[in-house]
């Protein structure tokens, strides 16, 4: 299987530089250890790192494919990212969402000019593939795609540029596109640094898979237990092949740790993180003994917390 290379990520960086935010590394001066930097990808347009991959995938299309348009299936941040990136490039976009998706996310996706099609949950991937074939649309998958992995990897390139002597990079893992890309960039640029994947203990299928040396599937119902709703997917063969190469270690965090990390990020870092975006901070705060010491970057992957849920966590 052909893996994404540092050259692919460098090429992606050129494509996304005018549209994605060059997020700074934020040293957390309240932390007594003094070794925590946050990479606030929640500050990207649409509130998540997902714009990096979406921009890269759409920018790489030829003119004919752009004219026909793109299609994506997602109930979350990927839907908005593809809609936004398509709008920026003037490319028509269709987004297939499960009909249980929060209204606020559906409306936000529509506001970026996409045609939104709602289908019963579980059917959205199939419907997207069917429509892609019917209408000649290019499918932009959420992670199982070299251009997506390379795009997400640009966040890793920036970490390496801003903190070349980084010791530890903490990345959340769900479908694995982000960790695959960031890990590939860090391996190439900061070979001494450890790349550590973080999962909720309730959706720790990747920790399980890496331990067993092969993809282990956890039932959807099990993965759905975590509050971190962006971390309920599982890797594809392509992303898992990357993870085996570039992830040094996994850490799993509890639901209580995730909630506390959301509070700490709001109060001390002044960032609104969704639970999925807070797992890396939870790992730093509550699993120090499992982690190598030294300069640590925690990637805050997104900030699309449901307002009521977020207010509830803050008050809790």
């Amino acid at each position: 299987m052909e893996l994404v290379t540092i050259s692919d990520i460098e090429a992606a960086a050129k494509r996304v530089e005018d549209v994605a935010v060059r997020t700074p590394l934020l040293l957390q001066t309240w932390d007594p250890r003094g070794t925590l930097w946050l990479k606030p990808e929640n500050l990207q347009p649409v509130g998540a790192f997902k714009v990096r991959g979406a921009f890269n995938a759409i920018a790489a299309l030829d003119d004919a494919a752009r004219a026909r348009g793109v299609i994506a299936y997602s109930s979350g941040n990927h839907a908005q990212a593809v809609a936004y990136a398509a709008q920026r490039y003037g490319v028509p976009a269709v987004i297939v969402v499960p009909d249980v998706a929060p209204r606020i996310k559906v409306e936000a996706t529509r506001a970026y000019g996409a045609e939104v099609i709602e289908v019963p949950i579980g059917e959205h991937e199939g419907k997207a593939r069917e429509l892609a074939a019917e209408r000649g649309l290019t499918l932009v998958p959420p992670f199982d795609h070299a251009a997506i992995i390379a795009g997400q990897g640009t966040a890793g390139l920036e970490i390496a540029e801003d903190l070349p002597d980084v010791d530890v990079v903490l990345v959340p893992i769900s479908g694995g596109g982000l960790a695959a890309g960031v890990g590939t960039a860090i391996r190439a640029r900061c070979p001494r640094a450890k790349v550590i994947g973080v999962e909720p203990a309730l959706a720790a299928d990747v920790a399980d898979s890496l331990r067993q040396g092969e993809l282990v599937r956890w039932p959807q119902a099990d993965r759905a237990r975590t509050i971190a709703d962006g971390l309920r997917s599982q890797p594809s063969e392509l992303t898992f092949a990357h993870l085996r190469e570039v992830v040094d270690q996994m850490v799993t965090v509890t639901e209580d740790e995730i909630r506390e990390a959301v509070r700490v990020l709001a109060r001390k870092a002044r960032l609104v993180a969704e639970p999925s975006g807070a797992v890396t901070t939870a790992a730093y705060l509550f699993h120090a003994e499992e982690l190598p010491p030294g300069k640590t970057v925690a990637l805050v992957s997104g900030g699309n917390a449901d307002p009521a849920l977020f207010a509830g966590i803050l008050a809790g």
Copy 2:
């Protein structure tokens, strides 16, 4: 009276570049007008733009003055900024705070290694001047000082670099150090842009003063009514002289508008802003008809919202 110049601000930029965060401009893609960029100074160490001035003032001291130490009086972000900047430069710091200051801010200031002295409210400035004379400490005032104004101005320099064709810059005004510095930078680098000061209607002494052409003093009790506790100060002769030169217009916002802007910043921009930091966004959202059209930067000055207050606003 000698005003701070763009050269002073350029010199300050060199001094603060390794310690203050180079905050990005964040285009707000959810905004239907598509003309709002946020400058998230709440992401600075200690959560406010204040570190820029504090670093610049301390960096400018000679070795003898550094060895003796610095002193500041403040119940708010300036206290933590001076404590943090002094710690970074290895300079002893004394901070005089009113004994009604929130415990969380007192502890944060102490955590940066400062000696914290609590005195009855209203006496903290006097006590600081007394201690400065007794111990030979250099007083670092919150705004009435050229080095502080120049330091705060570095935020304006960054706006001009990142968005050279900016049309409107919205800056909160309290003591006026930030607006004086940012306005001076914008005048020099983007002479076509309008610099617009924002105040709570309940503490609109600067709007009043600029209208009347002289400093008008509002009673402390009146200014204390606003929820924006960082905007209850009033300019000095020095900062007001700058404001007369560089502020094109004032906008005042209501308490409800401030609260709604805090909510919008959290939900759409994924930023935790204190009420004072949200007034510029409130002006953009609710006073469009008073503002010139075009590319607008709203400076989000700080993020040290009291956790309970912030949770209450989000839930409200």
